[in-house]
C-alpha cells in the first residue's frame, strides 16, 4: 500500500450504529481493546465514545454511538447518534444487526443505506437467534443489500477479525445502495421530480447527501432537513415545490409520513422473509418463564423489593470480614505506627495520622461494602432485570405523573448519582427528562452509605439494617413527590408515556461483571485519593487553626481547644441554624464538608470525633439520640449529593436547573429533618 493512502486511512472515521441493546459497546470494546461500559438493557450508552482501532498498520478512529431505531431522533441520546451519522458523515458505518431482533435492525440498516452511508453490516447475536429457533442466511442478505455482511457472536469474540477485514476493504471500496426502497409509482415520480430540482437548486446540499435521500426526507417532513433547505438561497422555492408534491400525492396517499415509514418497514419485512430460516418451532424460552414471574401483576413488586433487599444484605454481610480487616489495618496498626515514628515533628505526625489517615481510613473502611454492592448491581444489569423494573413501577409512577422509565435513573442512582443524571437522557419527553434528572440525586447513592452505617451503627444498633433501608425508601418516595410537584408546577404537560424494548434474559458474563465492578470501585478509590483527601486535608487544617491563629495538633485531643478552631466556629454557626434538630456542632461542621462529596462527612467526623472506629461510635452515641441521628441521616440523604452531580445537572440542563436542584435539595433536607424531629417528639420518641 502506498504511503499516501496510509495517511488517508489514518484520518478515517468509523461509526458503530445499531438499535438499542444490540451489543455495540461490546463490539467497540473488542475492536479497540477498550473498556466501554456494557449492560443488558437499552440505553447503557448515552454519549458517543471514541476509540482507536488497529488493523494491520493502520490506526483508525472508531466511534461508539447510542442506540437508534432510525435516523429520526426521538430522545436526546438518539440525537447524539443521528447528528454524528448525518453531520459528520463517517467514512464507514458499521451497522450492527441483532439476529434475534432482525426486522427492526434491518429497518435501521435500510435507513442508513438510503442516506448513502458506506455500510458494513455486522450480524450479531446469531447464537441467541439460533436458540430462539431461526437462522439468518447472511450470504443471501449480502446479495440483497449489496453490502458486506459479517456474522459475529460478540460475547465470545467470534467473527471480530473478519469484521476488521470487512471494515478495511470497505474503506478502500465504497459501496452504497441509495435506492433500496421502492415507494410506489406515484411517490417515486414526485421523488424524481424533487431530486432533479434539488440537484439544480441546491447543489451544495446534494454534494453532502444523496439527492434522493433529501427528497424522501423532505416528503417525510424531517424537521432538520426542512430547516437546512429553508436556509438555502432557493430554499423557499424548494419548499413550495415540496408542498406541491405533497398536495398532488394527497389524493392517493392519506398520510405521507406514515406511508413512507411503512414502505421502509415493509421492505425490512420482505427482506426478513427472504433470509430468515426457521430451524425449529419456538419453545417456551427462559425469558418467557422468568417474565411470567418477575413481571407478574401481583408478585412483580414484592419480588423487586426482595431483590433490592437481597442486594443490600449481600453487600453488607459478605463484606463484613473485609471491613473489619481494613479497619484494623488502617485505623489501628498504621495509625499507631505513624504516631510512634521517631524523628517526625508532632504537627506532621498529627497531620498524617489524625488528618489524612483517619479521614481517608474512615471512608475506605466501606470500600468492600461498596464493591460488593456494585458486584450485585452488575449482575442484575447483565441478566436483563433493570428494564423490567420500569414495567413493574409504571403504574405507581403514573399516578405521580412520571413515566416508569424514571425508575432506571433512580436505580442507577443507588450506585452513583452522576451516571443517574446522565441516564435521564433516554427519557423521550423533554419535561419528563428534566424532572428525572432533577430528582435522580434523591436516590441514595453509595457515598451516603458510610454515613448511615456509622450513625445507624452507633445509635440504632440492632435496627441499623432496617433503618438504612428505610432511608433508601425515603429517597425514592421523596423523588416521586418532588417529581410530582415539579410536573404540577414547573414542567407541566401531558404524560406522553414511554416505550422500551425489553432485552432477553441472559446469563451474566463473569469477565464483564468483574470488569464493571472493578471500574466502578476504582472510581470510588480514585475519589478517595482526590476529592475526599482534599476535603479531609481542609478539614484538618481548619481544625488545627482558628480565628486566633494556629492551635496545633492538640486541638484534636482537647475538645475545648477544638471549639476555638475555624471548624469550631463554623460548626457552632451551623449548629445554631440546626438548633431544632439538636445536632452536635461537629456533626454540623461535617455537613459543610459533605458538599464536596458525601463520604467526606464521615471523613470529617473521623477527624473531629477522634481516632478509630470505636471512639467515633462512642462519641456519636453521646451526641446523637436515635431520633436526632435519624434526622441527621435523612438530611445527609437529601441535601446536595456532591459537587460532581450538580456539575452533571449543569452539563445536561444548564446552570439555572443546577441551581434549582441545589436550592430545592437543601430546603427539602431541612424541612424533612425538622419534620422527623417534630413528629418524633409528638410521638414521644427521643
Amino acid at each position: 500500500m502506498s504511503v499516501v493512502s496510509d495517511i488517508k486511512l489514518k484520518r478515517m472515521k468509523i461509526a458503530l450504529a445499531g438499535i438499542p441493546n444490540v451489543g455495540k459497546s461490546l463490539i467497540f470494546n473488542q475492536l479497540t481493546g477498550g473498556r466501554a461500559w456494557v449492560g443488558n438493557w437499552p440505553g447503557v450508552t448515552v454519549e458517543k465514545k471514541v476509540g482507536k482501532i488497529r488493523i494491520g498498520d493502520n490506526e483508525l478512529e472508531v466511534v461508539d454511538l447510542p442506540g437508534i431505531y432510525s435516523l429520526t431522533a426521538y430522545s436526546v441520546d438518539e440525537l447524539v447518534a443521528r447528528n454524528f451519522i448525518v453531520e459528520e458523515r463517517p467514512n464507514v458505518v458499521v451497522c450492527i444487526l441483532n439476529a434475534a431482533n432482525f426486522e427492526r435492525s434491518l429497518y435501521l440498516a435500510i435507513s442508513l443505506l438510503e442516506l448513502g452511508a458506506n455500510v458494513v453490516l455486522d450480524l450479531n447475536m446469531i447464537d441467541i437467534a439460533k436458540n430462539e429457533g431461526y437462522e439468518v442466511d447472511y450470504v443471501r442478505l449480502q446479495s440483497i443489500l449489496k453490502v458486506p455482511v459479517v456474522p459475529t457472536i460478540a460475547t465470545e469474540g467470534c467473527g471480530i477479525d473478519e469484521l476488521k477485514k470487512a471494515i478495511l476493504s470497505a474503506m478502500k471500496e465504497r459501496r452504497t445502495y441509495v435506492g433500496i426502497v421502492d415507494y410506489g409509482a406515484d411517490v417515486e415520480r414526485e421523488i424524481r421530480r424533487l431530486k432533479s430540482l434539488l440537484e439544480e437548486l441546491a447543489p451544495e446540499l446534494c454534494r453532502k447527501y444523496p439527492s434522493r435521500w433529501i427528497a424522501v426526507k423532505l416528503l417525510e417532513g424531517d424537521e432538520d432537513i426542512l430547516s437546512k433547505v429553508s436556509k438555502l438561497p432557493h430554499g423557499s422555492r424548494m419548499l413550495e415545490e415540496v408542498e406541491r408534491s405533497k398536495r398532488s400525492l394527497r389524493r392517493r396517499v392519506e398520510d405521507l409520513e406514515s406511508y413512507i415509514t411503512e414502505c421502509r418497514y415493509r421492505k425490512a419485512l420482505e427482506i426478513a422473509q427472504q433470509v430468515l430460516k426457521r430451524i425449529k418451532t419456538p419453545e417456551v424460552t427462559l425469558t418467557d418463564l422468568l417474565d411470567f414471574v418477575l413481571t407478574h401483576k401481583v408478585l412483580g413488586m414484592p419480588i423487586a423489593l426482595s431483590i433490592m433487599y437481597l442486594l443490600f444484605r449481600f453487600s453488607f454481610e459478605v463484606s463484613a470480614p473485609l471491613v473489619d480487616t481494613i479497619d484494623i489495618i488502617m485505623n489501628h496498626w498504621l495509625h499507631d505506627w505513624l504516631l510512634s515514628l521517631p524523628g517526625l515533628p508532632e504537627s506532621l505526625k498529627s497531620f498524617l495520622a489524625d488528618g489524612i489517615l483517619t479521614g481517608i481510613g474512615s471512608v475506605l473502611v466501606f470500600l468492600p461494602v461498596i464493591a460488593f454492592f456494585f458486584l450485585g448491581f452488575a449482575l442484575l444489569e447483565d441478566v436483563g432485570y433493570m428494564a423490567r423494573i420500569a414495567f413493574i413501577v409504571d403504574k405507581i409512577f403514573h399516578s405521580f405523573h412520571l413515566p416508569g422509565k424514571v425508575a432506571i435513573p433512580l436505580v442507577i442512582g443507588f450506585g452513583c448519582n452522576v451516571p443517574a443524571v446522565m441516564a435521564a437522557r433516554t427519557i423521550e419527553d423533554e419535561n419528563e427528562r428534566k424532572v428525572a434528572a432533577l430528582i435522580a440525586p434523591l436516590s441514595s447513592c453509595n457515598a451516603r452509605l458510610p454515613v448511615y452505617m456509622v450513625i445507624a451503627g452507633a445509635v440504632l444498633r440492632a435496627y441499623a439494617g432496617a433503618v438504612i433501608l428505610s432511608l433508601y425508601a425515603l429517597g425514592i418516595l421523596l423523588a416521586l413527590i418532588v417529581g410530582w410537584l415539579f410536573r404540577k408546577i414547573i414542567f407541566k404537560g401531558p404524560s406522553t408515556g414511554f416505550i422500551l424494548e425489553l432485552p432477553p434474559y441472559l446469563s451474566p458474563k463473569l469477565s464483564n461483571v468483574v470488569l464493571k465492578t472493578w471500574e466502578r470501585t476504582k472510581r470510588f478509590l480514585f475519589k478517595a485519593g482526590t476529592v475526599i483527601l482534599l476535603g479531609v486535608v481542609v478539614a484538618w487544617l481548619l481544625s488545627v487553626s482558628g480565628p486566633g491563629g494556629y492551635l496545633g495538633p492538640k486541638a484534636l485531643e482537647a475538645p475545648e481547644v477544638l471549639e476555638r478552631s475555624w471548624v469550631g466556629v463554623i460548626g457552632h454557626v451551623l449548629a445554631w441554624a440546626f438548633a431544632p434538630m439538636k445536632w452536635d456542632w461537629r456533626a454540623c461542621a461535617a455537613l459543610l464538608f459533605g458538599f464536596i462529596a458525601k463520604e467526606t462527612v464521615v471523613g470529617t467526623m473521623g477527624i473531629l470525633y477522634g481516632v478509630g472506629e470505636e471512639r467515633i461510635t462512642e462519641a456519636i452515641m453521646r451526641s446523637f439520640t436515635p431520633l436526632t441521628g435519624y434526622a441527621y441521616m435523612a438530611f445527609v440523604l437529601i441535601y446536595v449529593p456532591c459537587l460532581a452531580t450538580i456539575a452533571m445537572i449543569r452539563n445536561e440542563l444548564g446552570l439555572k436547573y443546577s441551581l434549582l436542584a441545589l436550592i430545592y435539595e437543601v430546603i427539602l433536607a431541612y424541612f424533612v429533618a425538622l419534620s422527623i424531629v417534630g413528629i418524633g417528639h409528638l410521638m414521644g420518641i427521643r
Partner: protein, 97 residues
C-alpha cells in the same frame, strides 16, 4: 378499546394510534401501526403493557382461533409500553392463546 385494557395473552389488531407525531413515528419504527397484530404478553389491566409484534396482518376470512404464535413469526424483542402510551393505542381483540 385501548391496549391498556387488553387481556393478557390476547392477540390484538391495531386500529388506531392516537399519538403525536414523534411518538407515532417511533411506534411505526417498532412495527406498531394500523392493522398490525400484537400479542399482549403482560398487562397490568388497565396499566402498562408488554407486547410482541407479530409479523403479517390478519388473513381475510380466517377464523380467529388459528391466531396462535405458531402461525405468526414473533418479531424481535418484547416492547414495554407505558400506561400513557397503552391508552393511546386503540386495538380490537382478534384471538386468544
Amino acid at each position: 378499546m385501548p391496549l391498556a385494557f387488553a387481556h393478557e395473552g390476547a392477540v390484538v389488531k391495531v386500529l388506531q394510534v392516537k399519538a403525536g407525531r414523534g411518538l407515532a413515528r417511533r411506534l411505526r419504527e417498532l412495527g406498531i401501526f394500523e392493522n398490525q397484530l400484537l400479542r399482549v404478553v403482560k398487562s397490568c389491566g388497565p396499566g402498562p403493557t408488554i407486547v410482541e409484534v407479530l409479523s403479517g396482518s390478519v388473513p381475510q376470512g380466517r377464523p380467529s382461533c388459528v391466531l396462535t404464535s405458531c402461525y405468526y413469526h414473533r418479531m424481535g424483542g418484547r416492547i414495554l409500553l407505558g400506561f400513557g402510551i397503552s391508552m393511546k393505542i386503540l386495538v380490537e381483540e382478534v384471538g386468544n392463546q
